[in-house]
């Protein structure tokens, strides 16, 4: 019997196949994974629509009199959102070790960085709206829809994190009951990762 046959036979054994991977996750965590999969599909559809518009537009991109997106604010937003994941990891690891202080400190810092992101996005929108609006052309519609939809996700994340902080402050999140932190953190990290793709697509790729 060859090594490959042995490995295949072992892999197809019911006792091996029924092992849970990743193991020990709660139903809420799996629920969040499923939600994020559908959410990512929606972002993928929006970005596909954006690139389709770009490819079928004969003139320069962005079209009309719209200038190329400036990168400074977008870089700051990227730094804020990616940076906000670090204290959240710190908070998550902290409560696993039973440190509520670490959870609160990390959570508060994450919320503050999320709010800072939203403020810079508000300034970005104010500036853009002087130049074009969602009804100016297809580019305007796509830009505001994608970034606005992502902004709504950040708002939802800030609200969810605030709820976690409230629960932690009132002692409802402990070392043995901290699944909520991990679930909200999964959402937050995904929202950060999606922003990187949006930044690359709408800001960096528009310079090409």
């Amino acid at each position: 019997m060859t090594a490959a046959t042995t490995a295949t036979a072992a892999a197809m054994r019911p006792s091996a196949l029924r092992r849970e991977v990743p193991a020990g996750r709660r139903a809420g965590w799996w629920g969040m994974v499923l939600f994020l999969v559908t959410d990512l599909a929606l972002f993928a559809a929006l970005l596909a629509a954006y690139f389709y518009l770009r490819f079928v537009t004969s003139e320069q991109w962005p079209p009309g009199d719209i200038s190329e997106p400036k990168l400074l604010k977008a870089w700051i937003m990227t730094g804020l959102l990616l940076g906000s994941s670090v204290p959240l990891v710190f908070a998550d690891l902290g409560i696993k070790k039973g440190s509520r202080a670490r959870l609160l400190a990390g959570g508060i810092l994450t919320v503050l960085l999320g709010l800072a992101f939203l403020y810079v996005q508000y300034r970005e929108f104010t500036e853009k709206l002087r130049e074009f609006s969602p009804s100016t052309n297809a580019y305007g519609s796509a830009f505001f829809t994608i970034t606005g939809f992502h902004g709504l996700h950040v708002i939802a994340g800030v609200l969810a994190l605030s709820f976690v902080l409230l629960a932690a402050a009132t002692g409802r999140i402990t070392r043995s009951h901290h699944a909520l932190v991990r679930i909200v953190a999964l959402y937050w990290h995904t929202v950060g990762a999606v922003w990187v793709v949006i930044f690359a697509s709408l800001y960096l790729a528009a310079q090409l």
């Binding site: 019997m1 090594a3 490959a4 042995t6 490995a7 295949t8 036979a9 072992a10 892999a11 197809m12 054994r13 019911p14 006792s15 091996a16 196949l17 029924r18 092992r19 849970e20 991977v21 596909a48 690139f51 389709y52 490819f55 079928v56 537009t57 004969s58 003139e59 079209p63 009309g64 052309n137 297809a138 580019y139």
Partner: protein, 147 residues
Amino acid sequence: MTATAERLGLRAAPWLLWFGVVGSGIAWSLHTLVNWGLAETVCRSGHDAVLGVPLRPLLGVFVGVFLTVSVASTLVAWRAWRSLDTGTAGDGGVDGDDLAALRQQRAAVMALVGFGSGLLFSTMILFGGIAVLVLPACAGSSGVVSS
């Protein structure tokens, strides 16, 4: 050697199950993205070749690659389902163990869903491939529009 291969197989088993469940769906998604994106971009630029390679055979190769992955995923799902559906106590079966029985049923349902969706996705990739062989590569390219 045999012990190492067996250990490797045991470790790979749950990931193989995941490959059987989502592999064909991912293959179809990538097939749609790559083939559509490539055809649209190349045709839009007024060419019918990429770096000197004609577009049609290139799309055909991509169809072949993604179809192979999708069919492999479907076969893995089918084998896993057959194994889980007929598992007995002798091969690590479920007799007398409620939790193990529940886990085996869960894995069997996952494998069955993977098998069913694998058939569907493989068919979709296959028909996409037939379209590539039958129709000119740039026939479906949409017209240029201005803003």
